[in-house]
């Protein structure tokens, strides 16, 4: 248990560091949200100064940081200037949309990658493996921006999929089944992009680690004992090869909130990505810090989950960890 405690401590330290760093970065920004107001002759300079004072933008950086930390400790993430509302609920809605997208994509990617990778590893060097390696190499050299734009053009030209947004106009009046179909259609393109951009890495990792394990004597022995091939691959080889894959899975969980930023912007999916971009352009400080912190939380949590899974799955880690 000490092992997990140490990892948790490390994670908390990381979160602190990141919050400080983002705060620092955002505060180095010349100008703030109220600068544009100052150009407006209808708004008195006193009003702008009062607003600045109200949001404490006139205070020195350390004071603001401590103030913000205090607010976070009370469960508040600050206040958005642009939306004129607390950051928490704002982020929550967007994060939900992002998660809808990324959880689906991550599950799909793993469900595809595991059988493909195992299959490829079991036929190492033969035709199916070659074809699959070629396919993953091709996907690897197509950047996600290029992929996303290409799919958008495809969608527009065929008219099969909507090209942006979460749902169609008039979603509220649809029947439940219709609602589901509408949502699925809107999700298709971004999910395909995310799956295709994650797939080559996953397949290659699965293939490499399973191929390594397949060389092991105990599997040759199991084969010699006449165990069925499928059982051999999926319940023996895959379990032995799980270690690096668990770490990778933790990483997948960690990037649930941050991995789809660009795709969301390109496909105009109302997730965290567009919100963050807007907030940066508008100098909406607390939204930026909040969004970054939220996705960092996921990254850290993903690592922790991976550590816990490793602890559970690998007796070697348990023994070395408790020995320390």
């Amino acid at each position: 248990m000490r092992y997990l405690l140490r990892r948790t401590f490390h994670a908390v330290f990381l979160l602190f560091g990141v919050s400080l760093l983002t705060f620092l970065f955002s505060s180095l920004t010349p100008g703030n949200y109220f600068d544009e107001m100052r150009l407006n002759p209808q708004i008195a300079p006193e009003t702008v100064a009062a607003l600045r004072a109200q949001y404490q933008l006139d205070r020195p950086l350390p004071v603001r940081y401590v103030h913000w930390l205090n607010a976070v400790a009370h469960g508040e993430l600050g206040f958005s200037f642009a939306y004129n509302s607390p950051v928490g609920p704002l982020l929550w809605v967007r994060a939900r949309n992002t998660l809808l997208l990324t959880v689906t994509a991550t599950l799909l990617a793993w469900m595809l990658a595991l059988p493909l990778g195992v299959w490829s590893a079991s036929r190492l060097g033969r035709a199916p493996d070659r074809v699959l390696s070629g396919a993953t190499a091709t996907l690897l050299v197509i950047p996600d921006l290029v992929l996303a734009l290409g799919l958008l053009i495809f969608a527009v030209r065929t008219g099969w999929f909507p090209t942006g947004g979460l749902v169609s106009v008039g979603f509220e009046s649809f029947s439940p089944l219709h609602k589901l179909r509408d949502l699925a259609l809107h999700m298709t393109l971004p999910v395909i992009t995310l799956v295709l951009s994650a797939l080559p890495t996953l397949v290659r990792h699965v293939r490499a680690s399973v191929a390594e394990v397949l060389e092991a004597p105990f599997l040759k022995a199991a084969l010699g004992h006449g165990l069925p091939h499928r059982k051999l691959l999926y319940s023996y080889a895959l379990r032995a090869a799980a270690n690096p894959l668990i770490s990778l899975f933790g990483f997948s969980i960690g990037t649930l909130l941050s991995g789809s930023l660009l795709i969301e912007v390109v496909m105009s999916w109302p997730g965290l990505g567009p919100l963050l971009l807007e907030a940066i352009l508008a100098r909406d400080l607390y939204v930026v810090v909040g969004a970054v912190l939220l996705s960092m939380l996921f990254l850290v949590a993903g690592n922790l989950v991976a550590d816990a899974l490793l602890y559970w799955a690998d007796p070697r880690i348990r023994t070395t960890a408790s020995a320390k």
């Binding site: 560091g17 760093l21 970065f25 950047p143 734009l149 990037t255 990254l299």
Partner: protein, 351 residues
Amino acid sequence: MTRPRKPTRWLIVLVVLHCVVAGAGFFAPYDPVAQDRERTYLPPMHIHMVDTHGHFHLRPFFYPLRLREGSFDQYQEDASAPSPLHFFTRGASYRLLGFVPSHLHLFGATDARICLLGSDAYGRDQLSRILYGGQVSLLAGLLGAGITLFLGALIGLAAGYYSGWRDELLMRTAELFLALPWLYLLFALRAFLPLSVSPLEAFLLVVVVIGMVGWARPARLVRGVVLSVKERDFVRAARGFGASDFYLLRRHILPETGSVLLTQAAILVPQFVLAEMTLSFLGLGVPEPMSSWGNLLATLQQYSVLVSYWWMYLPALAIVPFFLGYLGLASALQERAGAYNLNEKKSWNQT
């Protein structure tokens, strides 16, 4: 697993690709900012060898496009006025590599404009803009990678050589940078720099921002190398002879990090080209009228362009051969170094 491939083959591919972009003035038929407002959004033109009567011509030719009756953006080939294609012809003046003045172009036409990849909203030739845009994007990637590797090497050397609290501090900071999502970091850094600046300043800003983002991974790798090298006999011997820290670092330790830095360069350059594309695509990078692979794609954010003018997507494909070359080079170098890790690229990308 896969057959080991020679890095040289990939290197040749890359050199050829870069030469094409570096010699954009020669390979592009037109000036990238030359407009033709009479004919906007021309679709890609076809080169013919056989005319409408079925006669074969040795010199390739094309039919100029003219507006279809009653339409404002639909073009059709004008078969009555075939225009021959000339090779090694005189055209718009340019400076090769920025200083050699020249008029020579690989191909061109005298009677009408030939836009092999179509033209944009101002009637500017897409092929020329892609080639010139490549100069901006690739230069940003290369310079960015240069800055990153310089920073990474410096920090890695310092951390590895002077262990103790300095090492601890630098590596904890590196961890923070590794943990922050890559795009966030790019945005955040870009955000605290001014938004509206001249194209050249914007370009330099982009280079600096990109260069500041990725130093953590090379720094960690360099540190690892330094940690093992500084205990090697020849380094200890040199130290025993009274060599200074600086001399040791420069003469004995830095050369040992060469292969790590080279591999990192092959991984970083395409990443950074993509970073420039992303920034410019989102309007945070290189502005018009300068072209870059990213800002050429920015028009695709308009729905009407997406619907009607598919060839505006073509600049996106320009990066793919470069990605292939660099990825091939990187994995060949890694195989040579014995570090079989093809997945570095993607995992870094997503972090």
